[in-house]
């Protein structure tokens, strides 16, 4: 077990070196979310009707955080495909190291990056007026839950990358799957005003559960519960969904890695 951890650590260090070598990459992954915070907070803020006193700035932050976590799927998938296609996966698989450490190293490194992005976003959010109202512990719990989502998405991304094996296919799939997941959730729009069937979809969308949970933990208003379970108990629902997803996806990704063969 300690071997797995130290190998993962060495492999995660490899990605950190990539970043150090090309800091503009880091800038690249941070600019979009920060722009989201500013655009939604400032531009749309005045036009949107949301529950509570905090206004749209308070409402939207948890949504943008969740959107960033969702996008972590693509980051990991693309990274895995790259390693697969330039032969590094073969190189690592031919070494007498635990095979789980390669994926664990990558998902950990991607988690660190997404954590960094979140920290910057939180600072920018604070500057434009976003506040968490429930004290340090609950706020940290909120970030913890969001990062758990980022980690789960990362493992799902590893599985997707190992299965699709081409960057084009990964981009196409993530476009098709992630847009509806993000926009058919309560991340950007309160579900109250939506037509009936759409509202049901939004309420049961797992992304909504994570977003609601984060809003609750941050003490940001999210309006009245509709009575659906994920809306009544968002923290429990979010934890169950994310842990179940990890329980399914981690072994599957591990198996896909064992068999991994670049398509040539």
């Amino acid at each position: 077990m300690t071997e797995v951890l130290s190998d993962s650590f060495a492999l995660a260090g490899r990605q950190m070196r990539h970043i150090r070598r090309m800091p503009e990459q880091l800038l690249g992954i941070t600019v979009m979310p920060v722009a989201f915070v500013l655009v939604f907070g400032y531009l749309f803020g005045s036009a949107m009707q949301v529950p509570g006193q905090g206004g749209y700035k308070e409402y939207i932050m948890a949504g943008i955080f969740a959107q960033v976590m969702l996008a972590n799927l693509t980051t990991t998938a693309i990274g895995v495909v790259e390693d697969l296609n330039n032969g590094l996966v073969d190189r690592f698989r031919a070494l007498p190291i635990s095979r789980s450490s390669v994926l664990l190293g990558r998902t950990t490194a991607d988690l660190v990056l997404v954590g960094w992005t979140s920290a910057i976003m939180a600072v920018v959010g604070y500057l434009i007026g976003w506040r968490a109202h429930n004290g340090v512990l609950q706020t940290l719990a909120g970030f913890g839950l969001l990062l758990l989502m980022g980690f789960a998405m990362s493992w799902l991304g590893a599985l997707v990358g190992l299965s699709l094996r081409s960057p084009e296919a990964v981009s196409a799939l993530s476009g098709v799957v992630m847009m509806p997941l993000a926009f058919l959730s309560n991340a950007f729009v309160p579900p109250e005003g939506l037509p009936g069937w759409m509202r049901v979809v939004v309420e049961w969308n797992p992304v909504s559960a994570v977003v609601s949970a984060a809003r609750d933990l941050f003490g940001n208003e999210r309006g009245a519960s509709s009575g659906a379970f994920p809306s009544e108990h968002p923290v429990i629902a979010a934890l169950v969904v994310l842990l179940a997803l990890l329980a399914v996806v981690v072994p599957l990704a591990g198996r896909a890695y064992q068999r991994a063969a670049a398509r040539r």
Partner: protein, 342 residues
């Protein structure tokens, strides 16, 4: 002699394509086996199976004394693999690439650094050691790749087309490095499409085609099997070629091989000097003045042609161009290959 690699009846199927159809191999410790075969013969599949990257559908193998089915991790600890396409992390420097492998092999921070320095030195990469591998030429990348597979100082080495796409200078340099390994007692299984490479490096050669070993032996044995020495006659006109063919057919028990493009005809030299004399007399009687009349030892090229019905890859793709340019071309060729593959 001790056996370092042995495979029995390896089979692998992709969809409805039988990539390997029962491969048997045997490599004594401390020797080089050259696996020769055209595109798609199953060379890479064989290597990937023996390096534990791919499970065979059927068959057994032992590598470095360990069983493929049950002791994969021990095999991994005892083999180095250089795949067909250089596997280096482009965004790390050469030194970092080697250190990462060393760390993963638990050499410790100091040990990994020392081993990296040693290999950089040995593979003439010291000057480029702290540049990103992205900036390396095809030849440098190949050397780094080979160095990476040697970090653990493994007793068994798999090299899948290690010199494809390299210019002559880089190829010769790599040959030297491979020979050094064997002198140090390492067992090497090397695949190649270059007949000359197998001839130069290998103690024994296995020719595979369509997933089966169709011949094996020492380079000399293979050449002898396919006909030993040949008498080769080139003439000036196609009319002369027809006549010369008739003459050679008379002096040899076997059918002459005719190449109309080069107006050359040849036969196996079964009867030694008598055959030569008879052929010369015959040609003279018909008044044919050969442009070339020579005895030629059959090359592995002939072996390959005779066995598989097709020519091996051409040697030295980049002729008289300068080394730097050649490296570029090689890199391009490799890139193209990779792009086609993707």
């Amino acid at each position: 002699m001790e056996t370092a690699i042995s495979a029995e009846g390896l089979r692998k199927r992709y969809g409805d394509h039988q990539a390997l159809d029962g491969i048997d191999l045997e490599v004594p410790a401390g020797t080089i086996l050259g696996v020769l075969g055209p595109n798609g013969a199953g060379k890479t599949t064989t290597v990937r199976i023996l390096a534990t990257l791919l499970d065979p559908d059927e068959g057994r193998a032992t590598v470095a004394g360990y069983d493929l089915a049950t002791q994969a991790k021990l095999i991994r600890a005892n083999v180095g693999l250089t795949g067909q396409y250089a596997a280096v992390d482009e965004r790390l420097t050469g030194r970092e690439n080697l250190q990462l492998i060393g760390t993963l092999l638990r050499l410790g921070r100091k040990g990994a650094r020392a081993r990296a320095d040693e290999l950089l030195e040995k593979f003439s990469l010291v000057d480029a050691a702290d540049r990103m591998a992205k900036t390396y030429s095809g030849g440098m990348r190949r050397r780094l790749d080979l160095a990476a597979s040697l970090v653990a100082a493994p007793p068994v080495l798999f090299l899948d087309e290690p010199t494809t796409g390299l210019d002559l200078t880089s190829r010769l340099a790599l040959w030297e490095m491979i020979k050094e390994q064997v002198d140090a007692g390492v067992t090497v299984l090397l695949t190649t499409q270059y007949l000359e490479e197998a001839d130069q490096l290998a103690d024994r050669i296995a020719v595979i085609d369509k997933g089966v070993v169709i011949a094996d032996g020492t380079p000399d044995e293979l050449k002898r099997e396919v006909g030993g020495e040949r008498l080769e006659v080139s003439v000036a006109s196609l009319a002369d070629l027809t006549a010369a063919t008739r003459v050679l057919a008379d002096v040899s028990p076997q059918e002459p091989v005719v190449d109309r493009d080069s107006r050359t005809v040849s036969v196996p030299l079964a009867g030694g000097v008598n055959t030569i004399a008879a052929a010369a007399t015959g040609l003279e009687r018909l008044g044919i003045e050969p442009q070339d009349f020579a005895v030629r030892r059959s090359s592995l090229d002939d072996v390959f042609l005779a066995l598989t019905g097709q020519r091996g890859a051409d040697e030295d793709p980049a002729g008289p161009t300068g080394p730097a340019q050649q490296d570029d071309q090689a890199a391009q060729a490799e890139q193209q290959k990779e792009m086609q593959a993707a």
